[in-house]
Structures are given as structure tokens and as C-alpha cells.
């Protein structure tokens, strides 16, 4: 990819969540092109994942909630672009973690960005502050109202509000990017289970499978982040960043099957299981019940969300940022599958 913004080319970058799914993709793009890429990773075990990418990569190991770790991350990195890619998407048991990391971490990162006069903060948000679309043909735009879905959605809403408030107060320049469900290389194990379930014909289709989902290829999201860094007029704005159009969920599953086959994997001839809609409705209720008590079960949460249409319109990003999501779902899924196979995972 060519750098879209000559003004920002070569400038120092700070990446939080650098060893995560999105972080690794971003650092791979930035590493060879920047003099300095400061990366926050959670523990020593994650260090090699980003250190190997380029000599420009400097790793800081620490907790985003730790003021001292953030001091090290921002030390001597004045006027850097901060790519805040860190976030907890699935908590380990308790919803508290969403708030501590997604809101608290963002608060501390913004504070350091302001104090070190960061050039700009590019904040990665989510579809979850907006809930589900009211109908299958509806698309979220940047003017859609907040309607956060459970604890994760609420935590990402609060984080967005902190970022937009800091921008409004003139504390720091900031851009919010709202990204839906990712796919692409360097995915975490939970996503490998997704491929493996589809390969074995075990991934359920809820209802008739015509509910729509916006998804975002990690390459598209990285492109969006670099554009958000470089386009001056983006300051203080929010953008949906996703593939060109939402997909029907049944098409996503069919495409993954085709991608698995194209990568030489045998796919079970079994048709996907069909799950009646009420089962997902029940799961959503159980999820809400548990979360009201501070508990989080990933499987229940994911099942509960499968019934919904969650679709957005990327027109504003196209017009204002020059965003151009050109990779097809099939090609993106193939890249994702290859990345799993390269790591020696059994799908």
C-alpha cells in the first residue's frame, strides 16, 4: 500500500494493542515505512510478535491502565501519531474488564497524548455502541444515535465520548474509526475456531441467514487508519470503516467454505446447521441477564448477536478520507486462512 498522506510519512507512530489482531497488521504496514514505531504489548511473550517486523519497532511491555507504563510508551515520542488499537472484545468472565481497559485505558492514553503533544490520535471504535439495525435494509451512518449493546457496547461508547470530548476541548487532535467484525491475517484463536466450525459444517445459521453483517478486512481497516492519520479535515470526526457493502450471513459462510477449498482444505459436505431464531433470542436474554450481574460468557454473547443485522454505510469515509475497500471477501478470507496455516494451526 502506498502511504496516502505525504505529510505524515515517516513520522513517529505509537501503537497500543500492537500484538493484537489489528495491531500486528498495522505494525506490518508501519514498520518498514517509519523511523520509529513504539508498540505497547501486554507481556514479554508478545514481544517477539512485533519485534521481528522491522528494526524501527520499539517494544514497551506494560498494562494500558498503568500510568508508569504509558510514561515509557510516550517517553521521547513527541508529536507522534497514536494508533489506539487496543481493546478488550471478549472479557474473561467479568464485564468489569471492558470498562477498565476500554474506557480507563483510553482515558490514560488520551491524557499522555495531550501531555506529549501527539500529532493525532486515531481511535479504533466499534459497531457495538450502536446496537443492531432496526431493519435488514437499514445502514448505520455517522449520524446514527448511540444505542450501546450490553457492556462491551457501553464501554466502547464511553471511550468514543472521551476521545471526541478531548478533540472538542482542543486537548488533542483525534479521529474515531468505527469498525465492525474483523477478518484477515494474524487472527486470534477464537477466529480459527470459526473457520474450523465452518469447515466441519458445525457453524449454525440463525434463522434464514439473510440477516446482514458489515465486516472489515484488516487491510481495509489499516488503510482507514493511515488515511485518518493523514487527512487534515478528519480531525474531530468519526467514520465507519468496513468492506464496501454488508454481506448476508449465509453468504459469509458460503464464502468461507469456498475460501477453505481454494486453500486446499477439504470441507465437510454437511450443510450448516440451522438454528431457529428463538434460540438466539434466548441466548441474547441470557447474555443480558448475566451481564447485568457483571458476568460475561463469550459463547452466549456471540450466539445472541447472530440473529441481528449489523450493517453500516462507508460513504463518508470514501468521500472525506478517500477510503477504497477493494479486497473481496473471498480474497480476504483466503489470506486469513493462509495466515492460520502458516502458523501451523489445524483448522
Amino acid at each position: 500500500m502506498t502511504d496516502p498522506s505525504p505529510g505524515a510519512a515517516g513520522g513517529p507512530a505509537i501503537v497500543t494493542g500492537a500484538a493484537g489482531w489489528l495491531g500486528q497488521n498495522l505494525v506490518r504496514e508501519l514498520g518498514p515505512r517509519r523511523d520509529r514505531v513504539r508498540c505497547l504489548v501486554r507481556d514479554e511473550g508478545e514481544r517477539p510478535l512485533v519485534e521481528v517486523i522491522a528494526p524501527s519497532v520499539e517494544v514497551v511491555v506494560g498494562d494500558v491502565r498503568d500510568p508508569a507504563a504509558l510514561d515509557r510508551l510516550f517517553d521521547g515520542a513527541a508529536s507522534a501519531t497514536v494508533f489506539h488499537a487496543l481493546g478488550v472484545v471478549h472479557a474473561a468472565g467479568r464485564t468489569r474488564e471492558f470498562f477498565d481497559t476500554n474506557v480507563g485505558g483510553t482515558d490514560l492514553v488520551l491524557d499522555r497524548a495531550r501531555r506529549t503533544r501527539a500529532r493525532r490520535v486515531v481511535h479504533v471504535s466499534s459497531n457495538s455502541p450502536f446496537g443492531a439495525n432496526p431493519s435488514r435494509d437499514h445502514r448505520f451512518t455517522e449520524d446514527s444515535p448511540y444505542n450501546p449493546y450490553l457492556a462491551y457496547g457501553e464501554s466502547k461508547r464511553q471511550a468514543e465520548e472521551l476521545v471526541l470530548r478531548a478533540a472538542e476541548h482542543g486537548d488533542v487532535e483525534a479521529v474515531v474509526l468505527r469498525a465492525p467484525w474483523f477478518y484477515g491475517p494474524n487472527q486470534p484463536p477464537r477466529q480459527s475456531r470459526f473457520f474450523s466450525a465452518i469447515r466441519r459444517g458445525r457453524f449454525p445459521i440463525v434463522g434464514d441467514g439473510t440477516q446482514r453483517r458489515s465486516m472489515v478486512y484488516t487491510g481495509h481497516l489499516v488503510q482507514g487508519m493511515l488515511l485518518a492519520e493523514g487527512v487534515p479535515e478528519a480531525a474531530g470526526r468519526a467514520y465507519w470503516i468496513a468492506d464496501a457493502e454488508p454481506y448476508e450471513l449465509r453468504d459469509v459462510i458460503a464464502t468461507v467454505r469456498a475460501a477453505l477449498e481454494a486453500e486446499g482444505l477439504e470441507v465437510s459436505p454437511r450443510r450448516p446447521r440451522r438454528l431457529p431464531l428463538p434460540a438466539a433470542v434466548l441466548a441474547a436474554r441470557a447474555d443480558a441477564f448475566l451481564q447485568a450481574r457483571g458476568r460475561y460468557l463469550q459463547a452466549v454473547h456471540v450466539l445472541g448477536e447472530l440473529k441481528d443485522t449489523i450493517a453500516c454505510d462507508v460513504s463518508r469515509a470514501r468521500e472525506e478520507l478517500g477510503f477504497d475497500p477493494s479486497t473481496s471477501l473471498l480474497d480476504g478470507m483466503r489470506a486469513s486462512i493462509r495466515s492460520c496455516l502458516d502458523r501451523g494451526e489445524q483448522l
Binding site: P67, R94, T95, F99, D100, G104, R115, A151
Partner: protein
């Protein structure tokens, strides 16, 4: 004591009751104020002392909302109510919050102009000032830490008047609106509990009262009045209504500002006579950082949570001051009364997001205090950890745990609520209780939510507005 008669009986004499009584008495009504606590001369007790807590606080300051964690709360129980025991900070109701309240509860005549008018009226009648000259060190340290971190901080104005030699006097209700009410002919009946509102044929007709005789027996009497104002605060007002058979929404929706404290030790002595008037205003309105009363007793209590038995820390109390972070909680609570029990039961549940916000506030507070030069921080968390370096602040995130954290609150509000939306508010837009004629509430219970700032300014302005409305319409 024989029964009393008046045009209006007012239960309670705090920011709501005293303003109500003075406004109505000056409007020509014969007013009788029933106050549960004693009438103590304003200068008789040392502010923030244990003697004062015994005399002026409900249950000597040992009240708590049930829940996990339980949350201690403080209420004044004396003529003047909580204005006698608070730090005097005065902050007008934020305009955007007033607009949200107005919209959500459909409150009539609650426009910025009207609220401005009443805030200005109160401000003309009671002295509000900032500290002349330099602020005390305990307060200046907040500013110093904030400046180092590049955070915004402000000195809040207070209900204080200063003599030419710089001596400050807090303008409590017992010094201001209570004497005004008395001058206009109101009678104050202290040491008297309101047991129940008398209701006859759907109309309030007075208040059944009781007081302890010197021999320990209860003496019972009634204050008969065709108009009844209940101004006992967000816990006692709904409790009195419930004891009088008025339930429905009454007592639900309790909100307050859960607060966690830190005792901070510095390498130099600090003042202990006043409460810091600086606040960190860097963060959104759901997070406040400021200073607390720091007498020797307060410091000892604060240290006792984190480091019980640490005599060396106690010996250094003269170099130690207490600071806090308070949040606008998204949880809520409820007040209810049980048959045969005079004291209400209060319960409150904090959400996971609330606990996270408290932890975040605590970490920010720690950053501030280290930046101000603190050498040891004692959080109000059972077992600490006590911190001596900034690098360990991260450990406070997980220490803020339901089972260990010791929270307190002031600023209890919103157990009755005002507005035209009958699904949300038990009182109308001017505090009149629905379903019973001639019965009003005029205190913090009417606020639709906890305000996120010190509430006494809002309580006084709204009480004044409602009292004017009453005078114009009855």
C-alpha cells in the same frame, strides 16, 4: 407539649427547609418548622470534630446504604441540616444537566432563564466567595499537582463570608435563612421527630410529632396546618411519606456520588482547619477529584483502612491530608420503611462500570498526589496497598474490589423527583405530591438525578422557585 397550629408546617431545616420557611414566612404565612435535631449555636462546636459529629450528624455519622459494597453516608441532623456539616462548596446547577432533567421528566417552568433568576436571587441573599489571598496549602497542593500534570483545576466558590482580617465564616442555614425565617415570625421546633403526615380525606392536615422528655419517655403532639412541606432530605423525606402511607415511586431511584478517599502524606506539615476548595475539573462530569476534611480523626480513619495499626503513619498525621475522588454512579438504590421501625432501610447497588470508574478516579487521584509531592498514599481499601511510588499505581485497579473497598457518600438525591412524567416523578413540576392534596416536598429528593456537583446551590434555587410558586398559587 400541646398541639400547635400554623398556616404551613415545614419538616426539616436544611438547604430545602430553611429556604422554604424563610420564603413563606416573608410571604406572610404563619410557618412552623419541625426539626429532628438540636438547635446548636453556629460557633459552639469545632467544625469537622468528633463532638460535632456526635451532635449534628444522624447516628453520629454512622449511617450506611446496604449493598455490596455497603456505602456509608452522612446526613446533618440539626437545625440547618447538612449545610452545617458540609464544606460549603457552591456550584450552580450545570445548564446542560438542567436541560436534560427538564426534557426527561417534563418539568414545567424549568428554563435556563428561570433557574438563572433563582440562582441569582439566592446569591444576592447569601454570601458566596472565594478565599481572599492564598488558599491553604492542602488546597494549593491540588492545584500544584494538576499544574504539573497539565490538568485543569479550579477554586470553587463557597458559602462563606470573610471579615476584613481574612477570617472566614461558613454561611450555613443556621446563620442565614433560619434567622430570616424567625425574624419573619416562623417558629422553630427542634429536637422533634416527624412521625407521620396527617392525611384526612385525601388532604394533608398536619404532622404527628414526638420528642424525648428529659425522663426518656416520648411526648407526642401534632402540628396542625392546612399546608405541609416535607424537607427532610433524600432519605428522611421518602421515609416520612412512606410511613404516612404514600408509596408508589416514593423512595425509588436513590442516587448519590460514591466516593473513595486517600490519606496522603507529604514531607512537610499541612493545614487541617479547613476543607480544600480546589477541584480537578479535567475529567468529564462523572468524575471529580478534591479534598476532604482532614482533622486528626479523619486522617486516623483514612489510614485505618489501608494500614491498620500503623502507628508511625498515625504519628505523621500533621503531614497528612485526606483527598477523594467521587463519581456520578449509574447504579441506583432505594429507601424503604419497615413496619415498627422508625429508621428507614437504605440499599444501593453499584455496577461494574461504577467500580471501574472509581478505580480510574483513584488512579488519577494517585497521580495527582504524587505529582504534588506526596510520599505515601493510604487508600480507603481494606489492606491497601499503601503506595510510595507512582510506578505502583496500577495495583489500585484490581484493589478496587467489591469486597475490599470502603466507600462513602454525601449528596443523596432523587428519591421522589419532580416533573409531569408520572412514570418517573412522584411530585409535580413544583414539588406537590401526586395523590394527596396540600402536600409538598422541597429538598434534594426532587432532583431527578444526582447532579455530579455539590447540590446545595441547586437545592436552594429550586426550593426558592417552588416556594414562590406556592405563594403565587395558594
Amino acid at each position: 407539649m400541646t398541639d400547635l397550629r400554623a398556616d404551613v408546617v415545614v419538616v426539616g431545616s436544611g438547604a430545602g427547609g430553611a429556604v422554604t420557611a424563610a420564603t413563606l414566612a416573608e410571604g406572610g404565612r404563619d410557618v412552623c418548622v419541625v426539626e429532628e435535631g438540636p438547635w446548636i449555636a453556629p460557633d459552639e462546636l469545632e467544625p469537622f470534630s468528633f463532638e460535632e459529629m456526635r451532635a449534628r450528624y444522624r447516628h453520629r455519622g454512622l449511617t450506611a446504604a446496604l449493598g455490596r459494597p455497603g456505602i456509608a453516608y452522612a446526613e446533618g441532623r440539626c437545625v440547618g441540616g447538612s449545610t452545617e456539616i458540609n464544606s460549603g462548596l457552591y456550584r450552580r446547577l450545570p445548564e446542560e444537566l438542567a436541560a436534560r432533567w427538564q426534557e426527561r421528566g417534563r418539568i414545567l417552568e424549568f428554563t435556563p432563564d428561570i433557574l438563572d433568576h433563582y440562582a441569582s436571587t439566592i446569591e444576592e441573599e447569601i454570601e458566596i466567595s472565594t478565599v481572599p489571598g492564598a488558599p491553604p496549602l492542602s488546597s494549593a497542593l491540588i492545584e500544584r499537582g494538576a499544574t504539573k500534570l497539565g490538568w485543569r483545576s479550579t477554586e470553587f466558590a463557597r458559602l462563606f463570608s470573610y471579615s476584613p482580617d481574612g477570617r472566614g465564616t461558613k454561611q450555613t442555614m443556621a446563620r442565614t435563612f433560619v434567622p430570616r425565617a424567625v425574624a419573619a415570625g416562623a417558629r422553630i421546633v427542634p429536637d422533634t421527630e416527624a412521625v407521620r403526615v396527617l392525611v384526612d380525606g385525601g388532604r394533608a392536615t398536619g404532622v404527628a410529632c414526638r420528642r424525648r422528655r428529659p425522663d426518656g419517655a416520648w411526648e407526642r403532639f401534632e402540628v396542625r396546618a392546612p399546608q405541609v412541606f416535607v424537607c427532610g432530605g433524600a432519605i428522611q423525606s421518602p421515609a416520612l411519606l412512606q410511613r404516612s402511607g404514600i408509596r408508589g415511586l416514593v423512595g425509588s431511584g436513590l442516587e448519590f456520588h460514591p466516593t473513595i478517599k486517600v490519606a496522603a502524606r507529604f514531607p512537610h506539615p499541612i493545614d487541617h482547619d479547613d476543607v480544600p476548595m480546589h477541584r480537578v475539573t479535567e475529567f468529564p462530569s462523572n468524575l471529580t477529584i478534591g479534598g476532604s476534611a482532614s482533622t486528626r480523626g479523619h486522617v486516623a480513619l483514612a489510614i485505618a483502612d489501608a494500614a491498620p495499626g500503623d502507628d508511625e503513619a498515625l504519628d505523621a498525621w500533621e503531614s497528612t491530608a485526606v483527598y477523594y475522588t467521587a463519581i456520578k454512579s449509574e447504579g441506583h438504590g432505594r429507601v424503604w420503611t419497615l413496619p415498627g421501625l422508625h429508621a428507614p432501610v437504605v440499599a444501593y447497588s453499584l455496577t461494574e462500570a461504577d467500580l471501574s470508574l472509581l478505580a480510574r478516579g483513584l488512579v488519577h487521584l494517585g497521580e495527582l498526589l504524587f505529582a504534588a509531592g506526596a510520599t505515601a498514599l493510604y487508600p480507603s481499601i481494606a489492606g491497601g496497598p499503601v503506595l510510595r511510588r507512582r510506578g505502583d499505581l496500577v495495583s489500585w485497579w484490581d484493589a478496587v474490589d467489591r469486597n475490599r473497598v470502603n466507600l462513602m457518600t454525601v449528596h443523596l438525591a432523587s428519591t421522589i423527583r419532580m416533573g409531569e412524567d408520572q412514570a418517573l416523578a412522584a411530585a409535580d413540576s413544583f414539588g406537590r405530591i401526586r395523590g394527596v392534596a396540600n402536600l409538598w416536598v422541597n429538598d434534594a429528593s426532587l432532583l431527578p438525578t444526582a447532579p455530579g456537583v455539590n447540590p446545595q446551590a441547586a437545592i436552594m434555587a429550586i426550593a426558592r422557585r417552588n416556594a414562590d410558586h406556592f405563594l403565587a398559587n395558594t
